[in-house]
Symmetry: C2
Subunit: 199 residues, 2 copies
């Protein structure tokens, strides 16, 4: 449908390459030259597709990575026989990906979120919106399991916090122990909330 | 005791300024010129005290900030009437500091840990050692409360993961909701572990 299908491909390659670089090197550590080299794109195409430069590209990558990650994690939860197994599977799956990628592929926006929190409002807002979309995704599932609203909200935030915190510890230690511990904790509080429904 | 007390002061000022800059801008985003400007130190003093340059300075700042933060958090826990209140106080205190510092002062090494995890082994190892020292600090307190070793280890990792994960969410959203949710979750699992001691 695009007037020039090749242009679309170039833009996609730039977005993919940037997402990959952000995960490994963060926002500040990712250079525009590296992006176009990894995307196999001419330098001019970057400003053609993203006239606002690195910041505009960054905002789009954060939203795109966030949506892809939401889809991935939602798929894992929904494929499980029940919510508790689904939550456990998220942590186990994340540990598997970390080991398989030499402890590089964890959360696609976490490094960037911390780098920009005190320095770049448009990028900070984009990361906040993505985290909120993940919290909403978990919230809908806890509500569907008849957990009351305040508990579902607290549980959803806890789930994302446990994942993000475990990612930092796992990437630093190059072990998956923290994801295992965090997964067990998530299971304990989800189970308690499910038991609490009757009261 | 130093041959030149002023030299000691300069080194301290460089370390303090770097720690502050790391928290706000991360490792990559912190420039040497900014460090000496903030430390009110001549540029040459940086390489005089840290012949290995930014990396050597970074390793020392990570260990120093890590030790100071351990002392701070241990002090909060030990000042509480009991372990459960102490854990709650950690999250409440962290939320207070975040609000007071315009959501800048969270974990002193988290941004750096994520930036260097896939790019700089000496810095990654330093962050891993600091996280492990925090886990050990919590572990000693859970063991002193008669919680068995595997549970104490899991609880200690969970505590640090909840704090680190909540910091990311709070800094991104500029609210302290995640620290409140994470603090409640920490209290639930610590209480469960304390109850489980008798069995």
């Amino acid at each position: 449908m695009a007037a020039n299908p090749k242009a679309g491909n170039t833009k996609s390659r730039i977005l993919d390459a940037t997402a990959e670089l952000f995960m490994r090197y963060g926002y500040t550590g990712t250079g525009l030259k590296q992006i176009v080299a990894d995307a196999n794109a001419p330098f001019g195409s970057l400003y053609h597709h993203f006239p606002g430069g690195k910041e505009e590209l960054g905002v789009e990558v954060i939203h795109r990575s966030g949506a892809m990650y939401l889809e991935l994690v939602s798929g894992v939860i929904d494929a499980a026989p029940d919510l508790l197994s689904g939550v456990r599977d998220c942590f186990a799956g994340a540990a598997e990906v970390l080991r398989a990628t030499d402890y590089a592929d964890a959360c696609p926006i976490e490094t960037v979120a911390l780098e920009v929190a005190s320095t770049n409002e448009p990028l900070r807002e984009a990361t906040a919106q993505v985290f909120e979309s993940w919290i909403d995704g978990a919230f809908a599932r806890f509500r569907a399991a008849d957990i009351d609203e305040p508990t579902a909200r607290e549980l959803s935030i806890t789930l994302i916090a446990l994942l993000e915190g475990a990612f930092v510890l796992c990437r630093a230690s190059r072990t998956t122990e923290a994801l295992e511990a965090a997964g067990n904790t998530a299971a304990i509080v989800v189970e308690a909330a499910l038991r609490g429904r009757a009261t």
